[in-house]
Amino acid sequence: MNDILAGLVEAGRLVVTLDPDLIEITLRSLQVTVTATVIAAAIGLPFGAWLAVNRFRHRRATIAVMNALMGLPPVVVGLIVYILLSRSGPFGVFGLLFTPAAMIIAQVIIITPLIASISHQAIRDLWAEYHDLLISLNTTKRQRIHALLWDGRRALLTAALAGFGRAIGEVGAIMIVGGNIDHATRVLTTAIALETGKGNFALALALGFVLIALAILVNFLIHGLSRTESESRW
């Protein structure tokens, strides 16, 4: 119990004094995760919509695999991405290992199935409603997916935020592919793991509270922004 209190106090101190290390790793956490979320959303949202709209042979199997991939163990993803990006691996020449780019790649792999799956479910319901109208209006497949993505944007935002939530709190994969290098690839979660390892529970908890606060802040911010257009304008 005392540790939690000490953690809260330490968190307050770090935030109030604008601790430069804290700001650095917080910004890096945001940068890595926001980038990963944007990329994963750019892949996962249209894919989820495409799955909802199209009928093809292995559709059920594809959806089942996608749902299973939602539970991908991050450590395994990290290991695979490490092996691929290693200097001895197929993509070694790019020198991406132990850079934020490697962390983004790992996070994209982890959260894309999650975003695709949630958006597929949301879009499927909307498609059931719009189906006859969009067919009747003689829209192309592209236009249908576009309309579904646009009109379902609230639910899709939730899907993207779920992806963001999973990515920002993720440690196993980015520890392996990022390496937790100070001033290069250290982010909030890897710093928490490091400080826990050192037995500095108060500092680790403080960073944890900052992480939670950050996640909440981002969610409020996004919802706040999306509410401003609840009455849609031309």
Partner: protein, 267 residues
């Protein structure tokens, strides 16, 4: 509004591309990093040589794998047999001894196995085994784990049974486990002194020369991996073996205790 949001996101994506730093990647063991010595040395290295050393803090086993794959420019570890095999296999150019610290036996402050008064590390381990007192092992193929297994072997004991727990974790996490179970554990002195969650644990046995823990520096072989920063690795080696490094390493203390003994031989 959503367009603005996307624009902001793209700006962040672009920033990511610029964020990678140039420098030398050095794989070190958790025990070295936990000592806190790195935080003293790295700024001085940057000041003296201009090399931005990026530490990858991993276990010895993983450090050697990173060197093998060419993902780091040099490694600094403490597991002599594995290091020599690494160099012999051509993954590293050579092995340079830098300094040593020592391992210590930690246990519950009331010392149920009574190891505090023993003469040798082997005797201390015999008592723990005889009492079946809880003992937490790193169990992660790290340098510390290998040293621990060598000690059990030297004492003629095959540790097994419910009292012997392999944590499969780094030094800090293993110490956390030992603190939680109130168990015995082998740690390097530096990690122990810097450890923040000691609980009821205390340092019970130290000083046997078999507990000395030699650190060595190995540059990754540029013949195998042409992209490694060979020049910086060489300059870092000469800095680490310089009188300046000797003064900083020898002078590093925690709570008034010296941790490392510099023993690099000038060339």
């Amino acid at each position: 509004m959503i367009r603005k949001l996307l624009t902001a996101c793209w700006a962040m994506c672009l920033m990511t591309g610029l964020a990678s730093a140039d420098g030398l990647k050095l794989a070190v063991t958790t025990s070295f990093h936990n000592s806190g010595l790195a935080e003293v040395l790295l700024p001085e290295i940057l000041k003296d040589t201009g090399i931005d050393v990026q530490l990858l803090v991993v276990g010895t086993g993983q450090a050697l794998r990173l060197g093998e794959a060419g993902d780091v420019d040099a490694i600094l570890v403490h597991s002599k047999a594995a290091e020599e095999a690494f160099v012999a296999a051509g993954h590293g150019t050579h092995r340079r001894e830098i300094m040593y610290n020592d391992f210590v036996l930690i246990g519950p402050s009331d010392d149920p196995a009574g190891i505090a008064g023993t003469a040798t590390a082997a005797e201390a381990l015999e008592r723990i085994a005889a009492e079946s007192a809880p003992f937490v092992s790193r169990g992660d193929e790290s340098g510390t784990h290998k040293a621990e297994r060598a000690l059990w072997k030297a004492a003629g004991i095959a540790p097994e049974g419910s009292w012997y727990r392999a944590a499969g974790a780094g030094m800090g996490a293993t110490l956390n486990t030992a603190a939680g179970m109130n168990a015995y554990v082998l740690s390097d002195r530096a990690s122990w002194l810097n450890f923040g969650n000691k609980g009821d644990l205390a340092l019970l046995f130290a000083g046997d020369p078999v507990l000395f823990n030699q650190y060595a520096y190995i540059p990754v072989n540029p013949a195998r991996h042409p992209h490694v920063n060979e020049d910086a690795a060489a300059r870092l080696e000469s800095w680490l073996t310089s009188p300046r490094a000797k003064a900083l390493i020898g002078g590093y203390e925690i709570g008034g205790e010296t941790l490392f003994t510099f023993n690099a031989v000038p060339q």
